[in-house]
Every structure is written in structure tokens, then in C-alpha cells.
Symmetry: C2
DNA sequence: ATGATAATCGAACGCCTGTTCTGTGTCAAG
DNA sequence: CTTGACACAGAACAGGCGTTCGATTATCAT
């Protein structure tokens, strides 16, 4: 018998039990029994499973309903399978540098206030969402993109784009960030505003232009009235 | 003992069992036992509960895992508690009449294609959402509201508004629908475009103006590139 | 009126499942 | 070296729970 001494917080066995509880619940829509927990986590004795469940309950990680079969649930809100939590990495405005990002790198934020939940059904079915990020618009500098102060722009990191895709671009010459539809032309790039009454920007292919991301979605919440 | 003869589809006891399954699952995160189902639905015998569960299983309404305690679940996708399904009632453009709606009336749509799922966390906590509806923007006639062709505008029915709220308004004189910030002035209404570079519309208080809804949210999916 | 079927029921059974008890090994502190 | 706490284990127990059986009643079709 090998023991791992108690340390502050979760031990390996605690974590495996929690992971199994979440996975089993997702798949079956009901929790596992104590014996099933033991089988999956390599704990051969129901009293030891009970021992760990009691500890997880004391830590506030789970809730137990006593003398009820399968009467255990993970405590508090857990990530819904129906929504995707996208971290809000900061503001976006013309004069603010865009965040440095790498495609394929995941973001982790445990600050509740800096994330937006998106219903997965609004995203393409194949979208895993693990590299999406969001920026919140500050000021009126994005109105040529039909994007208001306060809007949340959801993006995926990118350093290249196809014609017609809306991108977040940093123009080092102008010290300016902008959101525009991107087109490659013969010897220049055309950055086309979303507002059809506005004129595009042309950038010579020899001039610096840094694509930082592709816009996937824009969300506008009307949670405060316009000042008179 | 009173019997109700079998008819096509669900009987009263079937429906009560289904309702209880959904309610119990939401509250407890695990399903009820057969005895608990019986207690709640007034069925005194576990074999009768089993009889009805077998029928619900054959109808495809539930799934059962045999010989497992609480091994029953409602079949198929059920409305997530984390998202809200808002029916898309039709298009919106300047020349299209807005739908006639009554505040407090719920909409029901079983057409999957005509709804948008919104993460509940994007809505105010007190928002029940049972009277929200959405319209999909067709054409460029809403650009003064900073709203694009293809955007989805989520609204709550309203016939009045407070200053600074964005409303969907039908102007009978002009046969025109518009989305603008609403202000009452001394003897006229001001409809202020979201685009700060555009001028407002003024409507005399004696002229007809029909507020149909207040805008709660706008969603823009960038799921197709802009044509060159 | 009769036979078949559906609906309903209580009881019993057996398995599933949570809880409790007793014991052992390890580790840290005194 | 002793002691107490923690981690772990197996066994037993008791209760929770699903399934089955035999019976009764109501309804329906002939």
C-alpha cells in the first residue's frame, strides 16, 4: 500500500475523482456510484472512496445527498457544454496596440469578469474554441467597421487572411489598430471598411502591416442607455 | 382505481412523469428513483411506474440503463439551462413592416432554423427571456444604427421607451422601419442614429410613430467573407 | 355477454449502493 | 521509542432501488 501524504488542497486522487465525476455526469446525465468511482480511479475500497468524497465535500468541491444512491454532484457552476467561455484580453481602439498572440496557444483566465460566454450553436460546429479571444471596444474609432464603443469582438489569432475576411490589423507606421475587411490586390493590400459609404485604406505590400486576428463574431449588449 | 384508455401519444401520467424527470434533474443533477417518481406523480406501485417508463422508452422519450439505480434520462437534446433560445421571427429592413407583438406574450417556434441561442450570462440576471424575439437584418438600411446586413437583433416587445434606449420603430408616414436611440423632447421625438456622424430624425409628437420593441443585443457572425 | 387487452396494484425478491467498523502501514512530532 | 494523525484496505451490514410475479379492475371489440 502506497500513501501520499496530505498536502494543502487537492491531491492526485482528489483530482482524478473530480475529473471522473464531471466526465461521467456529462456522458450519462447521472453521477457514478461509489463503486464505479473506485473502479475508475484505482481505489479498491468503498470506504476510501467515501473518505475522499467526504474531504471533497468539506473543501466545497462537491455536494453529497446522504443515503441516496448516486447522491453526489460537483459543486457550483461548471462549464456548460452548451456555451464557450472566451477570455476578454483587453480593450481595442485605434491607438491601442493589439495583443501579441500565437495561433494555437490557449488562453487561460480565471478572472470571471474578463470573459464572455457564447452559445456554441452560434459557432461553426468544428470550432473547438480553445484559441478564441475577445477584445472590448473603447471609443468611436471602430465605427468604420460598424462596431460601437462597448462592443465585444471575438477573434481567432491569425497572421494571414483570405480575401473578404475581417481582420484586426496593426499598422506600425501609423501606430494604429483597425478592424477591416482584408483584400490582397496586385501590389497592395486593401483594407475595406464595413460601412459601405466609407473609403478603403490601401497599404503597399512593402509597408508594414501586422494581422493579429480574424473576427469571428461581434456582440453588442444594449445594457446602458445612450446619454442625451 | 381509475383508468384512462391508451391513446396515440402521451397520456397525462406520461407527461407528468416527463415533467418531473426534467424538473428533478435540473434541481438535483441526478435523476429520481422509481419510488420518487411514484410519490410525485401519485402512482402508488413501483411496477406501474416501471410500466410507464417502459412505454416512454419505447416512444423514444427517455433512455434507461437497466439494473442501475436512477438509470433514466430524458432522451435527446433538452434546452440548456445556460442558454436561451430566442425565436427569429423574420427579417428587418427599412421597408419591411415590423411584426405585431404584445408585451408579455411568449413565442413558440419549433423550427430549429429560426432561432438563436444566447448565453444567459450575456443577459441581465433577472431576464427570463420568455418574450424575447429576434429579427435578422436584410440589406444596408440599418447602417445608421451600426447594424449590418446579416446581423441578428434581439429585442423585447415594447410600445414605449425611455430616453437613450434603442428601439425598433415603425414610421407609418414613411412606410419605414428603423432602429435608433429614442429621446423624448419638448414637443417632438428624436430618433438618434448609433453612428455619431449621422443626423437624427425628428418626429412631431402629433405624427404617428409606433415603437415595436427595445433592442437588447446585436449579434454579428462573420461566417462568410465580404465579396470583393 | 364474452374474451382480450390495457391499466393498475401490492408484495416479494435480489441486486445495487452507501455506511460503518476494525485493522494496518506510514509519517511527523515529542 | 512512543504517540497521534492520516491514508488505505477489506468485510459486513443495512438500506436504497429496480425487477418480477400474480392478481384485480376497467375498457374495448366482437
Amino acid at each position: 500500500m502506497m500513501m501520499v501524504r496530505k498536502s494543502k488542497g487537492l491531491g492526485e486522487r482528489h483530482q482524478r475523482i473530480l475529473d471522473f465525476l464531471a466526465e461521467y455526469q456529462r456522458e450519462n446525465k447521472y453521477p457514478p456510484s461509489i463503486r464505479e468511482i473506485g473502479e475508475k480511479t484505482g481505489i479498491t475500497s468503498t470506504s476510501v472512496v467515501n473518505y475522499y468524497l467526504d474531504q471533497l465535500e468539506k473543501m466545497g468541491k462537491i455536494e453529497r445527498d446522504r443515503r441516496i444512491s448516486r447522491g453526489v454532484r460537483v459543486a457550483g457552476p461548471i462549464q456548460s457544454v452548451d456555451t464557450l467561455r472566451v477570455p476578454i484580453l483587453g480593450p481595442i481602439a485605434a491607438g491601442i496596440p493589439l495583443p501579441e498572440l500565437q495561433p494555437g496557444v490557449s488562453f487561460v483566465t480565471d478572472n470571471e469578469a474578463h470573459a464572455v460566454e457564447i452559445a456554441r450553436s452560434l459557432l461553426p460546429a468544428k470550432e473547438k474554441g480553445d484559441n478564441l479571444f475577445a477584445l472590448e471596444v473603447k471609443g468611436d474609432s471602430m465605427i468604420d467597421a460598424m462596431i460601437n464603443d462597448g462592443d465585444i469582438v471575438v477573434m481567432r489569432p491569425a497572421s494571414e487572411a483570405r480575401n473578404g475576411e475581417m481582420v484586426a490589423v496593426w499598422l506600425p507606421r501609423d501606430n494604429e489598430a483597425t478592424l477591416k475587411y482584408f483584400f490582397k490586390e496586385k501590389d497592395r493590400y486593401r483594407l475595406q471598411p464595413a460601412n459601405p459609404t466609407m473609403k478603403p485604406i490601401f497599404i503597399k505590400k512593402t509597408d508594414p502591416l501586422e494581422i493579429k486576428g480574424k473576427v469571428v463574431m461581434v456582440i453588442r449588449k444594449m445594457d446602458r442607455p445612450l446619454a442625451a
